[in-house]
Amino acid sequence: MPLTRIAIEGAVNQQTPLLQVRDLRVSFQLDEGVVRAVDGTSFDVMPGQVLGIVGESGCGKSVTMKAILQLVDRPGRIDTGEIKFLRSDGETVDLVKLPPRGAMIRQIRGGEIALIPQEPMASFSPVHTVGDQIIEAILLHSHRWEQGGRKISKREARKITIGLFRDVGISMPEQRVDAYSWQLSGGLRQRAMIAMALSCKPRLLIADEPTTAIDVTTQAQVLALLRDLQVKYNTAIIFITHDLGVIAQMASYVVVMYLGRVMEQGPVDAIFHAPKHPYTRALLRSIPSMYGQTRVALPVISGTLPHPFNRPPGCPFHPRCADVMPACSVGVPRLMPVGDDQLASCFLHHNEAEPV
C-alpha cells in the first residue's frame, strides 16, 4: 500500500496528488431557503489510490462527486473552493473554474475521470442498446485509443467494447453488446457500467455507491472485479458508500463526511482501529461485527439527521454527539491533524475553530 498523506496547511506533498479538493462549498437555492450540501470539504486523491468517502445519506457525498465532474444541477451551485486535477499531460487545472459545458471539462469527463453511478438500471438509457452507449463514449474520447493519430471507426469501437465486456467478466459479450440494459441482470448491468467507465482508460474513477442496487453475492463479485481492475490499470478510485464493510474491503484511505463536512480522514487502518471523531466511532459501533458479514447497512445513530434547513450552529454533529461540550454549539471545529496521517474536526482533539 503506497504511503499517502493528506495535504493540509503546512504539510509537504511527497507526491503530486491526482486530485486536490480544497474547501469545497456547494449550496442549493430552493424556494424555502438555501441548503448547504457541501460545506467546506477538503481531501486529496493520489494516483492509483482508492479513496473511500463514507457517511449517511444526505451527507453530501454524491454532491461532492458531482461537483468534481461539474455536474451540479440547478438550483445547485459551487460557491467556493478548488478542485485541482492533474491532467494526463502533466498540467493541473482547477475544475471549478472550467465552464461546465466547455470543451475541456468534456474531455476530462469520461476521458480522464469516469463515473460508475448508483443505479445501473436507470443509468443506461432504456431505448438504446448498452453497446451503443459504450461505443458512443469510446468515440467521444477516441484519441485515447488512437494509434498513430488515426481516428477509430465505429467497428473498432465495437470491438473494443466487446473486449471490455470480456475484461469485466460478461459472458457472451458479442450478444450482450446488443442487449438493452433492462434485458441484463443487475450484476451484468453494473459490469457493463464498469466497462463503460473504463472504456476510455480514465485516471480517476468515481464509484457512487455502485453496489447498493444489487444483491449480496453479485455485490461481492462486483467489488472483487473493481479491485482487480484497479490493480490492473492502476486507476485511482473515489469510492462513495454508506457501507463501512465495503470501505474496509476496498479503500486504502477514508474520508468520513457528515452534513457536507469532513469529520475525519485517514488511512483505513487508522480509521477503523483508532477512530478519533465521535461520529466515526458511532458509525463503527453500529456495525454488529466488522468481518462477520459483508452486508452491513448503517443502523440508526441516536437522534435523526437534522432537516437541511435547520442546520445546527457549531459542529453539525453536536446535537447527536455523545461527547458534546458547550463549545461544540458555538464554533465549527476545523479539520486538524490528530495523529500520523489522520485528521479530525472535533474539539475533543484540538481547539481550532473555523474562522467566522
Binding site: 468534456r106 463515473l115 453511478p117 448508483q118 436507470a122 443509468s123 443506461f124 463514449a137 474520447h141
Partner: protein, 328 residues
C-alpha cells in the same frame, strides 16, 4: 407484436359492423328525414315545393322504407365498396369525399407539421431552461393558446385581416385559383392562404403539445442516465437530443395515430367559420341536412381511421420503444 397486430386486424371487420349500425342509428335518430330538411331549407330561403313532389321524392329515395331495410341496403352497398349517392348533391358519396380529402389532408398535414415544428423545440427549450424568461413567456402563450376557443380566434383573425389589411383570408385559394388546374402558381396561392387556418387549427394543439413535451422532458432530464451521459463528456445539446428528448418523445409519437381522426373532427368548426374546402363542413352539412348516406360514409371512415389510428399508435410506440417491442 405481429400476433397482436393480427389479432386487432381480425376483429376490425366486426367492430366496423357494430360501428356502422350505431352510426346509422345516430344519424337516423333526429326526427324527419332528408326531405323534411330539404323542404325546410327551401322554405327558409324563400321558395317552396308541393306536398306531392315531396311524396314522390321520398319514395324515389327509399326514405319511406323501414329503418332496418334502409340499413341493410346501405350495408349491402358498402360491402360492394359503394358508398351510395348523396341525396343533396345527387352524386356518389365516394366522389364527394375523395374530392375534399386532398385538401383536408393538406391542411391537416400542414397544421400538424406546424404544430410539431413549433411545439417540440419550444417544449425542449422550456424544459432545458426552466424558469427562464422565455420559458415563462412560452408558458403564458401556451396557456392562452389552450384556453382560446379556436372558432373565436378564427373569426377575430378574419375580421382583423379584413379590417386592417383589407385581405379576405377565408378559403384556401384566391377566387381565380379555386377551380384552376394544379400549377406552381396555384400551389403558391395555397401556401399563401393555408398558414392562417393552419395556425388557427394548430394553436391549441401546439400549446398542449409543447406543455406535454416540457413536462415529459423535465421528468427525463432528472433521470440518472442523463448524468451518465454527461459524465461521458457529451456535448449538452447532443446529449439532450439523443437521450432525454428521445424518451420524452415516445409518448408524444404514440399520439400521432390519434391525430388521424382528429384531423377531420377537429377542424369542423374552424373550417366552417373560415370557409375551408374540408371534410368537416361537408359532414356538418350532411348531418344538418340529414343527407344520411353521406354523413354515414364520412362517419364510417372516421371510425375506421380511429381504429387504425389506435393500432398505428401502438405499433409506432412499439417501434420506438424497445421495451414494448421486445416484450410483447
Amino acid at each position: 407484436m405481429t400476433r397482436y397486430i393480427a389479432q386487432r386486424l381480425l376483429i376490425l371487420p366486426l367492430l366496423m359492423v357494430i360501428y356502422s349500425f350505431v352510426i346509422f342509428l345516430i344519424i337516423q335518430a333526429p326526427p324527419g328525414d332528408f326531405l323534411t330538411a330539404y323542404v325546410a331549407t327551401l322554405a327558409s330561403s324563400g321558395s317552396s315545393i308541393s306536398a306531392d313532389q315531396i311524396a314522390a321524392l321520398r319514395h324515389q329515395y327509399g326514405l319511406d322504407q323501414p329503418f332496418l331495410v334502409q340499413y341493410f341496403l346501405w350495408m349491402q352497398n358498402l360491402l360492394h365498396g359503394d358508398f351510395g349517392l348523396s341525396l343533396e348533391y345527387q352524386r356518389p358519396n365516394a366522389d364527394l369525399i375523395s374530392e375534399q380529402l386532398g385538401l383536408t389532408l393538406a391542411l391537416a398535414l400542414f397544421s400538424f407539421v406546424l404544430t410539431w415544428a413549433i411545439a417540440v423545440p419550444a417544449g425542449i427549450y422550456s424544459a432545458t431552461h426552466p424558469r427562464s424568461l422565455i420559458d415563462h413567456v412560452l408558458t403564458v402563450i401556451n396557456y392562452v393558446g389552450v384556453a382560446t376557443p379556436n372558432f373565436m380566434l378564427a373569426l377575430i383573425l378574419m375580421w382583423l385581416a379584413f379590417a386592417y389589411f383589407d385581405i379576405n383570408v377565408s378559403g384556401l385559394f384566391s377566387p381565380e385559383f379555386v377551380d384552376a388546374p394544379w400549377s406552381f402558381a396555384r400551389v403558391g396561392d395555397l401556401l399563401f392562404h393555408i398558414w392562417l387556418p393552419g395556425l388557427v387549427l394548430g394553436i391549441a394543439g401546439t400549446a398542449r403539445l409543447s406543455r406535454i413535451m416540457r413536462a415529459n422532458l423535465l421528468d427525463e432530464l432528472n433521470k440518472p442516465y442523463v448524468v451518465t451521459a454527461r459524465a461521458k463528456g457529451m456535448r449538452e445539446w447532443r446529449l439532450v437530443l439523443r437521450y432525454p428528448v428521445r424518451l420524452a418523445f415516445n409518448p408524444l409519437v404514440s399520439t400521432i395515430g390519434w391525430y388521424l381522426p382528429a384531423l377531420f373532427s377537429g377542424s369542423l368548426i374552424v373550417a366552417t367559420v373560415m370557409n375551408l374546402p374540408n371534410i368537416g363542413p361537408l359532414l356538418l352539412r350532411a348531418l344538418i341536412n340529414q343527407d344520411m348516406y353521406l354523413a354515414g360514409g364520412i362517419l364510417l371512415i372516421y371510425s375506421f381511421l380511429t381504429i387504425v389510428g389506435t393500432l398505428l399508435s401502438d405499433v409506432l410506440l412499439a417501434l420506438l420503444d424497445p421495451r414494448i417491442r421486445v416484450e410483447s
